[in-house]
Amino acid sequence: MEVEPISQPAQEKIEQVENADLVVGVLAQLDQAGLASVCDSLRELPGSPRVAILRDDHAANPAPATSASDGNGSSPFVLPWPLLHSETPGTPVVNMSNAFRSVFSASEKLGARACCVIASQLETKTPQWYSRLAAPLLEENLDLVAPHYARRKFEGLLNSSIISPLLRCLYGKRIYNPMGPDLGISRRLFQKMLGMIRIARAGENRAHPLASLAPAALCDNLQVCELHLGARVYPPTDWTNISSLVAQVLGPIFLDMERNAPCWQRTRASVPVPTIGEPLFVSQDTGTVDITRMVESFQLGIRDLPEIWGLVLPPSTLFELRKLSRLSLDQFRMPDELWVRIVYDFALAHRLRTINRDHLLRAMTPLYLAWVASYAHDVESAGPAAMEQRLERLSVAYETDKSYLVSRWRWPDRFNP
């Protein structure tokens, strides 16, 4: 059974290349010069592996097929490839997931030893990072190379508040950007992912090629490392679409929790993973930020969504939220313990299908914005070290309260505080 049906033109492109050691999917909007620097960087890989670059054929200036090949068999082959489906705007996570699946399929067809996805543009113009992402997969037989971007305090907030600390607490490994999106994946891991997608297609618990990647590697005790990179350029926030974004990101993560429950219930503490390179620091803004909009959204939620939140959250949490809603902007602080329990209760409600899952995830948005507002208050004048400490406290809160999640997960009816 095919995971990703490969079209006839794509099949012809694969036949042109025949095989490759490494497949690199380029989702980032790179111009010809950018693509050339990717090729140059990959040429530096030791052992001169045969590299195929899949470039999104919806990109602004798609390169002609095999344009970068110089005919000696060592240069990367550039293949225009349908990676991002631009006909579905407003679904960046879904599009990214489809692109990953497409890269995995092509890698399998080409018999690649590893694949990489380059989805971001970094602020620091050091093109060597492309080869640094791929090298550990080919040389050290690592299975997953995850990025560790230099972070600014108000960027990647969904990752900082939920994804990274939750996966750290669940699977016991400290990966700062488990959902990449710039990732290196070994053959063993992408084949496992393709297998999971094949199995899941028959059932309803679909594996998500991006969100399931780190949990799948960690549950199988595969070799994972982090690569220190510069700051990532994030797309601007679309405030009208934020609930959709929350639903797209958290849905697959909660589904994975369901699939991997036997694995994460055994895990206790967390440990760091090996890192490559030195941490990079970026300048931080220290001015005040306006949190009015986010607090207003939360207060509106408290006023209009209590029936829905009441189905998901225990009375003690609702009581705390009501108290929080009465605080002035200056005093607005959401305790980490409260936020952690909210995330756990939503994950549990997702598993129990307490309400329609899309409604559930979207109803979490005002609570998420309340956390962002509280966090913004805490770190608005903080430097990089203070910000890291603040996020470390949050991660520790996730780990400390894991027993609550395990108890509610095992006995949802009996254990209800």
């Binding site: 108000f154 405030w239 803004d285 959204s297 129990l352 409604h359």
Partner: protein
């Protein structure tokens, strides 16, 4: 004279007692049919409910996108609704069989009429059930969506949508029941139009201040959006 009165009295008593004696078997049959149907209905309802719970009927409905049952109290569980509907149908059939036992022409006619009407009632009940579910689902979608857009009249919108859909479902059910179709159409038109008009008035006049504030806030937000915000989520 007295003899004739006595005779008439005796005859009327005999006729009444004969009639009553003729009626008694029918009554007994009616009571038996009703009792059996109640017992049978309860048993079938229990079995159906167990089966539906066993096959996670409520959860399956939720998975199909029909508003969840787990969120409802046990009285509103779809499995319970289905089992109770089946029980009610069996009791209804028992009642009609009992009526037939009287053997009177009017009871037969009544039973026939009711039997003919049952499909309409079932159709109307289904329309109401689905309409209610859709109304609740849409109302919740609108409420969450509007709150996430920071609209201060989110609840008003949600209630408006819920009643629009529900009124439409009731009108369709009444149409199905063939109850005064002309009046129903007229009443539906008036009521539906009324709700839309009330919503428009509420937005335009009644909640003028609220809307003004909200729109002002939106405008401020729009201008604020032009100022680069530092928050990046994904």
């Amino acid at each position: 004279m007295w003899e004739q009165v006595k005779q008439a009295l005796a005859q009327s008593t005999a006729r009444f007692l004969t009639g009553f004696a003729n009626f008694l078997p029918g009554l007994a049959a009616f009571i038996v049919a009703l009792l059996i149907s109640i017992v049978l209905g309860c048993i079938v309802a229990w079995v159906v409910r167990r089966l539906l719970v066993g096959m996670e009927f409520d959860q399956r409905l939720t998975r199909l996108g029909i508003p969840a049952s787990a969120e409802s109290s046990s009285m509103k569980s779809p499995a319970l609704v289905v089992s109770r509907t089946i029980a009610a149908l069996i009791i209804m059939v028992g009642f009609l069989i009992g009526l037939e036992a009287f053997g009177a022409e009017w009871t037969s006619l009544l039973a026939q009429t009711i039997f003919d009407y049952i499909p309409h009632v079932l159709g109307a009940a289904l329309v109401l059930l689905v309409g209610g579910m859709v109304a609740r689902f849409l109302a919740r979608s609108v409420l969450i969506g509007a709150v996430n857009l920071n609209l201060h009249y989110a609840r008003l919108l949600s209630v408006g949508v819920k009643w629009l859909v529900f009124v439409m479902a009731v009108a369709m059910a009444l149409e199905h029941l063939k109850i005064a179709p002309g009046i129903v159409k007229l009443a539906f038109g008036i009521l539906f139009g009324g709700i839309v008009f009330s919503l428009s008035l509420a937005v335009g006049l009644g909640s003028k201040d609220l809307i003004t504030k909200s729109l002002e806030r939106d405008t401020q937000k729009a201008s604020a959006e032009n100022v680069e915000e530092p928050f990046r989520h994904v």
